[in-house]
């Protein structure tokens, strides 16, 4: 899986706003999603391209939480990205 190209993150308060740039501006003109906390790490990994398991491992490296909690976080994040049509593969 990989994030589609043509999006940047912009800090706003405690969150970062996903902003379409270039050719995506028209297609994603109503896009309104934010990334915060561990989402930033997931966003960066997905930008390079990786699998669900890599994302879970990345979070387990950084946060001291149980695996099921992390899995739920990752799945929620991936669902959000999929629904916003930001994922390839």
């Amino acid at each position: 899986m990989k994030l589609k190209q043509g999006f940047v993150l912009r800090k706003c308060g405690a969150a970062e706003i996903v902003v379409p740039v270039g050719e995506n501006v028209e297609k994603y003109k109503n896009l309104m999603i934010t990334v915060s906390g561990s989402g930033r790490l997931l966003w960066d990994r997905l930008a390079e391209g990786c699998e669900r398991e890599d994302l879970i491992a990345a979070l387990l490296d950084v946060y001291e939480v149980e695996r099921p909690v992390v899995e739920a976080d990752v799945d929620r994040f991936l669902k959000k990205m999929k629904e916003a049509d930001l994922l390839d593969g």
Partner: protein, 243 residues
């Protein structure tokens, strides 16, 4: 069209719009223009087509009237300002912006303020005020584009708070955390069509969140709602006048 001054910016509109012409008497200016609104018929036709596609049934003149404001709102971003949807009033000289999705009762709420507090309330703009940042502080400004009730004043006041309004049975106002209101805030801010202006708007909002008090107001349509809101916003300084 004669030049207008909104906030501290002079705007030269190179089109004669009949709707706007009837609303600008309080905003005339003869100073040199900071913003020139100069788009051709192509632009207007595209904008009108866009309105039609969005299922609106506005007249060409009204679509043009809105297109002019969108153009100005985008240009305002270059001057550290943005348009925000909401009903804005000044109370004892300080500005408060009540925002919520359409139909929640923003205008109804600010009408209650006028009924309860009389002359202490001045309507800044009932629907689409401008917010500007000057020397690190934020201000609310009236503009002629003020919605169906046409309530606005050519004034600029320091922004004292943004209030996210919800309907409820009881009246209650509390400080709101920036995290919680962020999605609501973004829905109410004008989003320029190009990413450069949108990114600049987000930067302004980032600064705004750091300094501007935010509130969540649950309210009904009784006069009590205005009293409760005022007490929460202004605190002990704003004494409720005797009836």
């Amino acid at each position: 069209m004669p030049k207008l001054k909104i906030a501290d910016l002079v705007i030269d509109i190179k089109r004669d719009n009949p709707i706007l012409a009837g609303q600008i008497a309080d905003y005339l200016s003869k100073e040199p223009a900071d913003i020139t609104v100069d788009f051709g018929q192509d632009y207007i036709e595209r904008e009108i087509e866009a309105e039609v596609r969005s299922n609106f049934t506005f007249s060409p003149a009204y679509s043009e009237y809105l297109a002019i404001y969108r153009y100005i709102a985008t240009a305002f971003v270059d001057h550290d300002g943005f348009l925000m949807h909401g009903s804005a009033l000044a109370f004892d000289g300080k500005g408060y912006l009540f925002t919520a999705p359409s139909g929640t009762g923003k205008s109804t709420h600010t009408r209650l303020w006028r009924e309860v507090f009389g002359d202490r309330v001045v309507m800044v703009n009932d629907d689409k005020p401008m917010v500007t940042r000057r020397a690190g502080r934020f201000y609310l400004s009236g503009t002629p584009w003020s919605g169906k009730h046409d309530l606005d004043s050519n004034i600029t006041v320091p922004l004292g708070g943004i209030v996210f309004l919800e309907r409820g049975k009881e009246n209650k106002i509390d400080p709101a955390s920036p995290d919680r209101v962020l999605p609501l805030l973004f829905r109410q801010v004008y989003r320029p069509a190009d990413s450069a202006h949108w990114l600049a708007t987000i930067d302004l909002l980032n600064d705004l969140l750091a300094v501007c008090p935010l509130y969540r107001l649950v309210c009904n349509m009784d006069k009590e709602a205005a009293r409760v809101a005022m007490a929460g916003l202004v605190g002990a300084n704003g004494e409720t006048p005797a009836e």
